[in-house]
């Protein structure tokens, strides 16, 4: 299957990954992964742990060598370049700041290790470090050591250090993984703004679907070392390619059904099948909040309401559909008429996704 967008033109392609495979002993970490990133794109590699996303990132950095496949950046064969010549800025999951160097020395490192002919002068380096400290809003902390910083500050130092070498590509491994929820949300916005200003192609790894959908231009979803789907956050959310993607990107309700002659039948409810639905036995997936309610004698899935509870701005509706416990979510303060414990209603998924059963 090909999930690439039709408007991909090779003219603005930055990163091309073709048929990359990598195994650790007998465990395959990556299986024939192909994907591209456009110039200045913010690409998320999303998947559960063990999906191969970090391995792929390390292949891009040059810290792992794939068993097969091709990686090109700006048309150049990346795999034949050693790590140090790739000019990728990498931010590690635990930041990997040099613990015995100050913040300023950390940021300057990439400049000070350059060949003498390419090395900026001391004052140029100091100047650059100062500008980067300003950029990451840590101007006063240049003389501190990493152990004297908070998690969020360390992450920003790691980012400044990666940006100091003027990278051709920025690689971020679970950039918010080690931070608490509040800091994480703030940094997310900030990072996106920084990316837009710096204009560097960025690939970041995350297991958090909300983070990927919120932050990225496009999301690559991996599972068991394989690329399952690649698309904009909207595309993958609205049209998940497989039940796995549907499930991984948000809450899911699932019902068995049958598609015959353009009609979709779930239990005693018969409706028009969505375009392109497979024939025969199917699994129908829908989001718990993408439903409308109708009176018990109307059309839809018959649901017995068991409990209704206000949860912040949402209403959680516990009900049973075809004997299965299902948790639905209604938005807004007012409940649809008839939705109260002990009553039966009809539930109609507004945007069901239909996958071949099996």
């Amino acid at each position: 299957m090909n999930f690439q967008r039709a408007d991909d033109t090779s003219a603005n392609l930055a990163l091309e990954i073709k048929g990359v495979s990598k195994a650790y002993g007998r465990f395959p970490a990556l299986k024939d992964v192909s994907l591209q990133a456009r110039d200045k794109e913010f690409l998320a590699l999303l998947g559960p742990s063990g999906s191969g996303k970090t391995t792929l990132l390390r292949v891009l950095a040059g810290l792992e060598t794939p068993d097969a496949g091709e990686v090109r950046f700006g048309g150049e064969d990346f795999l034949s370049l050693p790590v140090r010549h790739r000019k990728v800025g990498m931010v590690f999951q635990h930041y990997a700041l040099f613990r015995h160097m100050t913040v300023a020395q950390n940021i300057a490192f990439g400049l000070t290790v350059r060949k003498r002919s390419e090395k900026p002068s001391k004052s140029e380096i100091a100047d650059r470090v100062h500008k980067l400290l300003q950029l990451v809003q840590l101007e006063d902390l240049g003389k501190r050591y990493p152990s004297q910083l908070s998690g969020g500050q360390r992450q920003r130092v790691a980012l400044a250090r990666a940006l100091a070498i003027e990278p051709r590509m920025l690689l971020l491994d679970e950039p918010f993984g080690a931070l608490d929820a509040q800091v994480r949300r703030e940094l997310r916005r900030w990072l996106r703004e920084l990316h837009d200003r710096a204009g560097v192609t960025t690939v970041f790894v995350t297991h958090d679907q909300e983070e990927a959908l919120d932050l990225a231009d496009r999301v690559a979803i991996l599972k068991d070392g394989q690329l399952i789907q690649l698309g904009s956050p909207n595309e993958v959310y609205e049209h998940p390619a497989t039940p796995f993607v549907f499930d991984f990107l948000g809450q899911a309700c699932r019902m068995p059904g049958v598609v015959e002659g353009g009609r979709l039948r779930i239990a005693d409810w018969d409706s028009e099948a969505p375009a392109g639905a497979p024939q025969g036995a199917v699994e129908v997936f829908f989001r718990p909040d993408e439903v409308t309610f109708a009176p018990a004698d109307g059309a839809g899935l018959s649901a017995d309401v068991k409990a209704v509870a206000q949860r912040g701005p949402d209403v959680r509706i516990d009900c049973r559909i075809e004997g299965q416990p299902v948790e639905l979510i209604g938005h807004g303060p007012t409940l649809p008429p008839g939705v109260s414990p002990g009553l039966s209603v009809r539930v109609r998924p507004t945007r069901p996704q239909v996958y071949a059963a099996g």
Binding site: L63, L97, R99, F109
Partner: protein, 278 residues
Amino acid sequence: MNPTIRLPGLAPLFLVLTLTILGVLIVLPLGVVFASALSQGLAAYIEPLTHPDALAAIRLTLTVAAISVPLNAIFGVAAAWAIARFEFKGKSLLVTFIDLPFSMSPVVSGLVWVLLFGAQGWFGPWLQDHNIKIIFATSGLVLATVLVTLPFVARELIPLMQDQGADEEAAALTLGAGGFTTFWRVTLPNIKWALLYGVLLCNARAMGEFGAVSVVSGSVRGLTTTLPLHVEVLYNDYEFVGAFAAASILAGLGLVTLVLKSVLEWRHSGELSASRRH
């Protein structure tokens, strides 16, 4: 930092017990060494230490340590690097082997060299034909010392490097540093205190080693006697003041090592092995 737990009544008991054992087994003998050495006055203490044989023994001890300690430091860093950074077959076997000198009698560590390089040893005739002397010579003393002290540096570094992980080195590479630069500017500074700690312990053992060295030395006075062997030779000759004077140097070395070791543990506990943190 662990909170201190007080068990009522037990603390004084344990404290007295510990201090008694410490006093009888360590402070008392140490006191005896210095008291005996100084029993006939300062002049009598200095005199045997300035004897040519004693000076030769001190010089030899320093020479052996000066060669074997750097060798062990290099080996220790290399072994720790290999074990902490790479996966390979037989790794756990290698770790076990590094520890072998600790569990084996030092006499064996000396004897193996005699069996290899002695006159009746495997390579003995060949060495004799080429006029190379290993046993009963400085090179034999170095070999024996290296083998006995092999684990010190490696065992200090392995847990630390495993604990630190390879991310900082990987980061240095992505930032454009070469392998050598990365080692000098990232790896080495991160392990420097643990390395120093290991070198310190290694040095104390190298200078104080008796068993292994005595097998390969032949105890030729003024030529192949290190300080510990010199002590034995004098003691067997009933030259007690001289023996204790030489022993006091070794004891002093032990005390200096202890102080330096404590300073390291106190100032840089976080950068020593994870197991040594407090």
